[in-house]
């Protein structure tokens, strides 16, 4: 299932907003919101979110490599916008699983 980036962004934002109602998280969630530092996610939270995204789009993406990349960044973090870029890249361009296509920050 292909989808334009705007739709992916809308889906990811809506999903995280839905989830955050259970966390007592009151700040606004936007494209630049950081998953780890701001939303307080742990690695397994991102693993589960990634699985849900794959399930939604019925498309397998190399999340393991993405998170490995994040682990090597100086910031050790990932924004919603970067997550959407990753999904967009793989969903709409059929990028092979080697390489995430997301540069190190």
């Amino acid at each position: 299932m292909k989808a334009p980036r705007t739709e992916i962004l809308e889906y990811v934002l809506r999903t995280i907003e839905d989830l955050s109602q259970d966390w007592d998280y009151t700040r606004e969630v936007g494209p630049q919101t950081l998953l780890f530092r701001e939303l307080g996610m742990e690695s397994l939270d991102v693993v589960v979110l990634g699985t849900a995204i794959q399930e939604h789009y019925q498309f397998q993406m190399p999340f393991a490599e993405l998170l490995a990349d994040v682990g090597q960044r100086a910031s050790h973090d990932l924004s919603i916008s970067e997550l959407v870029d990753f999904v967009d890249l793989h969903l709409n361009a059929n990028v092979p699983t080697a390489g995430t296509g997301i540069g190190h920050g």
Partner: protein, 535 residues
């Protein structure tokens, strides 16, 4: 509608613990339940590990058939990436899909390999999900909001809350932290029970199932308090207090079992089962250190001398192993300490590291023989008592996802994957580890009072289906536990074997299974640390 079958999972339960507790009056309901119904030892699959074993219980099939071998799964390709298991790894029908597919409603609470949740008729609250993501995991949509109205509902304590659990368990050598940790698990079981009670009363399913996983956790960390005869006698007030808290957990669990049986009534079949048994463990076998000493593995750079931050088995190193090993010089390696599996690197294309495919059988045999020959330098005992090849224990269409060799250690413990100057060392104190024989108990229509001896975990799925009046698919490797039934009842309710209702189809069809990613999963590792896989 009423509950026809109640399946109660007791993760890691063993009669070695339960029988003494029943004798001591800690679990009077379970004692009466067993006295009135059937009991059996339940032999699990290889390896005796939570994800593959519960999946075998839910499918009636072995790992080579259902596709789940470990908490972790190695991704195909040269990257050596490892990811966490999920429900898309399950490659065959489950009791949930079979029952739902034949028009029954099912409720599945806290079972592993259930996320993404199957879209059954009924309810699914998967286990092994972090609390912040529970909304994504529950089925159907809106279920979590309904559950929030359940008395005492606490999302943080119900599902995984790493920070909470970490607080309770971090440095459990700190005496003050045992109490809160055990109390957390008492509350968590109560939480699951309240959800079950709510759903049974408000929106019942013919097949209702709940899994209590605190049994496993307590036994990992508190074995020496539960069975001091396997370790050292308890002497201090603190040790007796911890033991008393463990007994409180089992006393409360017994109360929940009683309430659940009352809730579903005498017309329901109640089945209790564990995924594996338990016993004491004292050894640490550093498998990758052994492989290195024998020239099969090479560490990358300074990996061999890096600080392991107090880890013993190396669960915390699972995701990092990609960077710790020199793959160009490694022929055999253990990627996880949870399944005691060894993988052999094969040079399939002629340009990769590893052994040539033609050398594989002889190489694997030599490796297995050398492992069996490894002896404890202190007393000459064999440390590795069994070495199973993939062909022997994982036959089936998905065997390739399993390790090449699976080890059984003399004390039933788990290997360490960490670099170490020693191949064999001792744990700081006796812990608990998985064993092949778990528990089974049953009561209900047609079930006679009996000791059924030994059953297979593969028999549970067929028995569940039979108790629901459904046929048993021919593909299931287990059989209905007919000897727990009165013969006259079986005459009236004969076991029916049938082809699977429909060919199993994965939910993700366009490009194969939707794999969950895996990375440096400190969170998972903390969770596993809590389970006692590491000290």
């Amino acid at each position: 509608m009423s509950v026809k079958t109640l399946l109660i999972g007791l993760d890691g339960a063993t009669f070695d613990v339960l029988d003494p507790l029943m004798d001591q009056g800690v679990m009077p309901f379970l004692k009466s339940f067993l006295a009135k119904g059937a009991r059996a030892r339940l032999r699990t699959i290889v390896p005796p590990l939570t994800p593959p074993a519960w999946t075998s219980l839910m499918t009636g099939r072995t790992p080579g058939q259902h596709g789940v071998f470990d908490f972790f799964r190695m991704e195909p390709g040269a990257g050596h990436h490892i990811r966490f298991f999920n429900s898309n790894d399950v490659q065959c029908d489950t009791i949930w899909s079979l029952a739902s597919g034949q028009g029954l409603r099912v409720t599945s609470l806290n079972y592993p390999a259930m996320f993404p949740a199957p879209k059954v008729s009924g309810h699914v609250v998967p286990g092994w999900i972090p609390w912040k993501q529970l909304r994504l995991a529950c089925w159907p949509d809106g279920l979590l909001d309904r559950l929030k109205g359940v008395p005492g509902f606490n999302q943080r304590e119900l599902a995984m809350d790493i920070k909470l659990e970490e607080k309770a368990t971090e440095g459990c050598s700190n005496r003050e932290e045992y109490g809160p940790w055990i109390e957390l698990h008492i509350r968590r079981e109560q939480n699951w029970f309240e959800i079950l009670k709510y759903l049974v009363r408000e929106d019942p399913s013919e097949l209702t199932a709940v899994l209590f996983d605190g049994v496993d956790k307590l036994q990992h960390l508190c074995w020496r308090f539960l069975r001091p005869e396997d370790a050292t006698p308890l002497t201090s007030d603190w040790e007796f207090e911890v033991r008393e808290l463990c007994l409180k957990y089992f006393r409360r669990l017994d109360g929940l079992l009683e309430q659940m049986c009352e809730l579903v009534g005498p017309r329901a079949t109640v089945l209790m089962a564990s995924d594996h048994g338990f016993g004491p463990t004292r050894d640490i076998f550093h498998i990758n250190a052994w492989l290195e000493q024998h020239g099969y593995l090479a560490w990358a750079g300074d990996a061999a001398s890096r600080d392991t931050e107090g880890a013993v088995l190396g669960v915390g190193q699972v995701a990092r192993h990609t960077f710790l090993m020199d793959w160009s010089r490694t022929k055999a390696f253990a990627t996880t300490p949870t399944s005691n599996g060894i993988r052999i690197a094969i040079n399939h294309d002629g340009n990769s590291p590893g052994i040539a495919p033609s050398e594989y059988p002889a190489f694997r045999q030599r490796l297995a023989d050398e492992l069996r020959d490894f002896r404890d330098p202190k007393n000459g005992e064999r440390v590795v008592t069994e070495v199973w090849t993939r062909d022997e224990v994982f036959s089936g269409p998905h065997s390739e996802a399993g390790p090449d060799l699976t080890l059984i250690l003399r004390d039933g413990g788990l290997v360490s994957i960490l670099p170490s100057p020693h191949v064999l060392s001792s744990r700081p104190s006796v812990g608990g580890a998985h064993r092949p024989l778990g528990v089974f108990a049953a009561n209900g229509p047609g079930i006679k009072t009996s000791d059924a001896g030994e059953l297979s975990i593969l028999d549970i799925a067929p028995t569940v289906l039979h108790s629901l009046g459904l046929p048993v698919p021919k593909e299931m490797q287990g059989a209905v536990a007919e000897r727990i039934y009165d013969p006259q009842f079986l005459e009236l309710h004969p076991v029916r074997r049938a082809a699977a209702p429909s060919p199993y189809r994965q939910r993700t069809e366009n490009n194969g299974s939707a794999a969950a990613p895996m990375e440096d999963e400190e969170v998972v590792l903390d969770r596993l640390r809590e389970l006692g896989y590491i000290e």
